[in-house]
């Protein structure tokens, strides 16, 4: 069985099938790109894996264990962490405050240690702050840590969102359209960071609307349309797959 595997997963909202009997395998260490037109079920897929939705049918396995029907925080503890498309921050805080709140899993001492400000808590806090600084450094946010997070530019906010997801020490990172609303240059900057994260051994599932972004980064691409998988394979092959072209551009009318 693969590292992360979806077996025959369906999600219905009333009579609408957002995902319909989807099978998907993710291998350790790869960057899997998921493309598809609007409403094809990409975000639903992430919501299912991260535990935000429960599937109507089917199973999700991670490291040979079922992770269906667990709460999002339990799934995060297992090492599957997601980012959001919008609403990525804790509004009102600085960058470093945002990172520290989201570093929940880096704090190993129980709450009462921090209540009494024990030595153990101080060490723990130092180590969590160190980890947060390491991550901002990785994503080139170091100059901004004392700035108001919701005052950052859109691109930096998205990067901060990724940094916050990384504070949970993921094995699998689910990125929900990390480059929306960016120009090509900014998108390439983010893609570069995604590669860097992958080099550290993190498996990445990258949802992307724009296939050109995926070309440089994904090792494999799957294309969704109306909740079903219509193509799966090398990025170039998927891009030229007739069904994919049809899903994006429609059929030729002669």
């Amino acid at each position: 069985m693969s590292y992360l595997e979806l077996q025959n997963v369906s999600k219905h909202f009333g009579r609408l099938a957002a995902l319909d009997q989807l099978d998907l395998k993710v291998e350790k260490g790869e960057i899997l790109g998921i493309v598809g037109p609007n409403g094809s079920g990409k975000t639903t897929l992430i919501n299912l894996i991260s535990g935000y939705f429960k599937p109507t049918k089917g199973q999700v396995f991670f490291e040979n264990k079922r992770i269906c029907c667990q709460r999002p925080d339990q799934i995060t503890k297992k090492g599957i962490v997601r980012t959001f498309q919008s609403n990525v921050l804790f509004p009102g805080g600085t960058v470093v405050e945002n990172l520290l709140i989201s570093s929940h899993l880096n704090y190993n001492t129980r709450s009462w240690h921090s209540f009494f400000n024990t030595k153990k808590w101080k060490e723990d806090n130092e180590q969590a702050v160190g980890r947060a600084i390491e991550l901002v450094n990785l994503l080139d946010l170091l100059n901004d840590i004392f700035l108001q997070a919701d005052g950052l530019s859109h691109g930096y906010q998205r990067l901060l969102g990724i940094a916050m997801a990384l504070t949970a020490n993921p094995h699998v990172l689910l990125l929900d359209e990390p480059t929306t609303g960016m120009n090509h240059e900014e998108a390439m900057f983010v893609v570069d960071k995604i590669k860097k994260i992958n080099e550290q051994g993190v498996t990445i599932i990258l949802i992307e609307h724009n296939m050109k972004v995926l070309l440089g980064v994904a090792t494999r691409v799957a294309c969704l349309s109306f909740g079903t998988k219509i193509a799966d394979g090398m990025p170039e092959d998927v891009m030229n797959h007739p069904e994919v072209v049809e899903a994006y551009l429609g059929t030729e009318v002669v």
Binding site: R71, L105, G151
Partner: protein
């Protein structure tokens, strides 16, 4: 949403003068009974201190993003627990008092497990209903609560050490006054540490963006229940002391208006501070209400309270309340510090 991060600690300033001012105010309050044993002044301070504790409870629950309208219900639960144990079961006062907060916290915990699943406006409505449920139970369970006649409590026995009488609760309100100060101090220290510790950070995360917090591994229910339970415990203690100082509890003592009063005190004092804001709000508004109620005009204090909230929210729209004025006074008026704002940042 600034107020969840911008925590103002009244003691935070490096300069000694503001600390000195606070120290003097605290010392003056502690030594007040030496100067005056006036029942009117002391009882006003006792009640306002107890309301400050209730307002602190409201602020703590608000810090996790929940709007509790059940503060008076927990005061009633604490008050009735203590009264039933001492009057109906002839328990001594001190263990009954200890139990009152624990029972109130237990009710908060059990209710939280069920209700905090929904959260948001539903939570407010259910806590509102809780107040009514407690009132109706108190009214109708005559064998235990004596219905609308209420329970008349007696004062705690005098405390004496080696024959020297330390506190006589029957003779004057002074022992109650120090009792209240102890309760406010303990609650204040506990809440200050909560706000300052990792718990405070987690609460901010849960309040500001619950979805994101949950996907970062924070168990939302757990932390909401923790805040609600702690608030329930201390509000219960305030209710028990309130009941014994008033010497009577009836179903009419703690109602919806009292819950709203705790909320108004918290908002007017400022929710950016877990301790200072509710205390300022509690003392000012209870004092104001007390003065107004002497004018014998029904509904006047409600009107004035409402107007105060509107005024405070217009003048200090970030929800930082009157405690912000203290902050501004030292920073801008006294030290003339320039505040650098990072709110707007160029791309």
């Amino acid at each position: 949403m600034m107020q969840f991060f911008k925590t103002i600690h009244l003691m935070d300033y490096k300069n000694i003068v503001p600390k000195l001012v606070i120290g003097l105010v605290v010392a003056a309050i502690v030594l007040l009974p030496v100067v005056t044993k006036d029942v009117v002044i002391l009882s006003m301070l006792i009640f306002s201190g107890l309301w400050a504790v209730a307002a602190m409870g409201f602020t703590l629950v608000l810090r996790t993003g929940q709007f509790s309208l059940g503060q008076s219900a927990f005061m009633a639960i604490g008050g009735y627990t203590c009264a039933i144990l001492t009057v109906q079961m002839d328990f001594p006062f001190w263990p009954s008092f200890l139990l009152s907060g624990i029972i109130s916290g237990l009710v908060a915990f059990l209710l939280g497990v069920v209700v905090l699943r929904v959260g948001g406006i539903y939570f407010s409505i259910i806590t509102l209903a809780l107040g009514e449920i407690v009132r109706i139970i108190a009214l109708n369970w005559e064998s235990v609560t004596r219905g609308s006649r209420g329970l008349v409590t007696s004062s705690p026995l005098p405390i004496s050490i080696f024959g020297w009488e330390l506190a006589n609760f029957d003779a004057s309100p002074v022992p109650y006054f120090y009792f209240m100060l102890c309760l406010v101090a303990i609650t204040g220290v506990v809440f200050w540490r909560i706000g300052d510790s990792r718990l405070g950070q987690i609460f901010a995360g849960v309040a500001l963006n619950p979805e994101l917090a949950e996907h970062q591994g924070i168990h939302l229910m757990k932390y909401r229940i923790i805040a609600f339970t702690i608030a329930g415990v201390f509000t219960g203690y305030a209710g028990a002391l309130y009941t014994h100082f008033l010497t009577v509890i009836t179903p009419m003592v703690f109602g919806l208006w009292q819950s709203i009063q705790a909320m108004i005190m918290s908002i007017v004092g400022g929710i950016s501070s877990l301790v200072g804001g509710p205390i300022i709000g509690g003392v000012l508004l209870y004092g104001l209400g007390d003065r107004l109620s002497r004018l014998q005009t029904p509904g006047l204090s409600q009107m004035v309270f409402g107007a105060t909230v509107v005024l405070v929210l217009i003048c200090l729209p970030k929800g930082t309340g009157l405690v912000e004025l203290w902050d501004k006074f030292w920073k801008k008026v006294v030290w003339r510090e320039v505040e650098y704002e990072h709110d707007e940042m160029e791309d």
